[in-house]
């Protein structure tokens, strides 16, 4: 059960991180709905991909995944090391 919790927390963190990053873009923006939607439509560029995959939208997920894995690994190593010292 403990492992399940850890896995669930890891998955939750991986899912939440990009969403939070997106939400944190500009909360103090005072641009209105009209300007926002029209800007989105006007910024549509010609020559979009014709395949089924999504084009790059400016958010590097790979970097977040690398950082998340590094942080998780650091946590596990620290925990193991500290436990070994206490046991020893």
């Amino acid at each position: 059960m403990r492992k399940l919790t850890v896995v669930a927390m890891a998955v939750a963190t991986a899912l939440v991180a990009p969403a939070l990053a997106l939400a944190a873009q500009n909360p103090s923006s005072s641009v209105g709905e009209g300007t926002e939607v029209q800007r989105t439509v006007v910024s549509g560029v010609a020559g979009a991909q014709s395949g089924g995959s999504l084009p790059f939208t400016g958010f590097s997920l790979a970097l977040i995944v690398i950082v998340a894995v590094a942080l998780l690994a650091t946590g596990f190593v620290l925990r193991r090391q500290s436990r070994a010292k206490v046991d020893g």
């Binding site: 669930a8 998955v11 939750a12 963190t13 209105g32 939607v37 560029v45 206490v86």
Partner: protein
């Protein structure tokens, strides 16, 4: 030295109060500290609207992040459209009511009380750690009373985490650390304690995943919506597919439908545009933009009566919107309506609202 910089403190205070209470925008070319510069801006009006929202919904509030529509309905200018009221206490009161504010206050006070109790039992290092965590959390709370900090997860999450940490710092006692708390409890009834621990873990895991999914779906939906918006000129069918997918992924958001309708309106696909805006209104009945676009659509087809009806609904939600007022005048005069031309006002810098300039004259009336 500080006094010589600001002059008579009473005059300085009077000027600052005037700037705060009579919202207008001043160019921020002042090289002095922000604490000494003008307090002009929109905060006072945002706080006023938030307080009125609280007065209308004192017990439960208007619901989290339901500020933008209330501000639009009451704003005195035509260019500032904030989503948050630049104040955590007023945000809590207006959106969570007495109940939400009470729960938040209870959580913060409980953390502070627990931290105070723990600090007394810890050594200098442990006590200092608790104090540092408390100070960071307290500063965040103080600053967020006049700023947008709750809405920035990179600031709010550590602040709340530090508050929680201050209440849970343990003494570094190796002998005690070897015995997990659950096992201490288990000494009386091992099976019951283990079952309780498993139940808590399961609830925690399910709650974490539910929160993550609730946050991740809007993000994914936004990615598809942006992707669809970028593809519409080259491949409209693909763009519509992506926008439909975005709409299905986040069934609470009207944004993908507003983008779809706006694209369809530009492509003069009247029935698709009408359908998209009406669906957007089903999801967000406060979308003045959807009403406006429906009015422009009907106006461009010569359906002036419907256009006028939609414009009236849009103005009821956002009375100071320039495009809506202009469109209403044109409809009443029977002038031809071109949605593309009118929508240019939203994005073309040539149509920048004169609001900022019109407010600067109030500088002259400062005491």
């Amino acid at each position: 030295m500080g006094l010589s910089h600001v002059g008579d403190p009473r005059d300085w205070a009077a000027r600052q109060w005037h700037d705060l209470a009579h919202s207008y925008s001043l160019p921020t070319q002042d090289d002095r500290s922000r604490l000494l510069a003008s307090l002009s801006g929109r905060r006072y009006e945002e706080w006023r609207v938030a307080w009125r929202q609280f007065e209308r919904h004192p017990l439960l509030g208007a619901g989290p992040d339901n500020f933008a529509a209330a501000y639009l309905a009451e704003r005195s200018d035509n260019f500032h459209e904030p989503r948050h009221p630049h104040s955590l206490p007023l945000k809590l009161l207006s959106q969570g009511g007495i109940l939400g504010t009470g729960l938040f206050t209870l959580a913060v006070v409980a953390a502070g009380w627990l931290a105070g109790r723990r600090r007394r039992t810890l050594d200098a290092v442990g006590g200092g750690t608790v104090a540092a965590c408390l100070v960071a959390g307290a500063y965040w709370l103080l600053h967020s009373s006049v700023d947008i900090l709750w809405e920035i997860p990179a600031l709010a999450a550590p602040a709340m985490g530090l508050l929680a940490l201050s209440a849970s710092v343990e003494r570094g006692d190796p002998g005690r650390a070897e015995v997990p708390p659950s096992r201490e409890i288990a000494s009386g009834s091992p099976w019951a304690a283990r079952r309780a621990a498993r139940g808590a873990s399961l609830v925690g895991a399910v709650a974490s995943l539910a929160i993550a999914v609730a946050l991740a779906l809007p993000w994914l939906s936004d990615l598809y919506a942006q992707s669809g918006a970028k593809a519409w000129r080259a491949n409209p069918a693909q763009a519509y597919r992506r926008l439909e997918l975005a709409s299905a992924i986040d069934p609470l958001s009207a944004d993908p439908l507003l983008v779809e309708g706006s694209i369809a309106l530009r492509r003069r696909e009247a029935s698709r545009a009408r359908r998209a805006f009406l669906r957007a209104l089903e999801r967000d009945p406060a979308s003045w933009y959807a009403y406006l676009q429906l009015a422009l659509l009907e106006g461009s087809l010569g359906h002036y009566r419907e256009a006028e009806r939609y414009l009236a609904q849009s103005l009821a939600l956002n009375p100071n919107e320039r495009v809506t007022r202009l469109a209403l005048r044109m409809v009443k005069e029977g002038a031809p309506i071109d949605p593309q031309i009118l929508n240019r006002v939203f994005v073309d810098p040539a149509f920048r609202p004169p609001g900022i300039e019109s407010y600067t004259h109030r500088v002259e009336s400062r005491p």
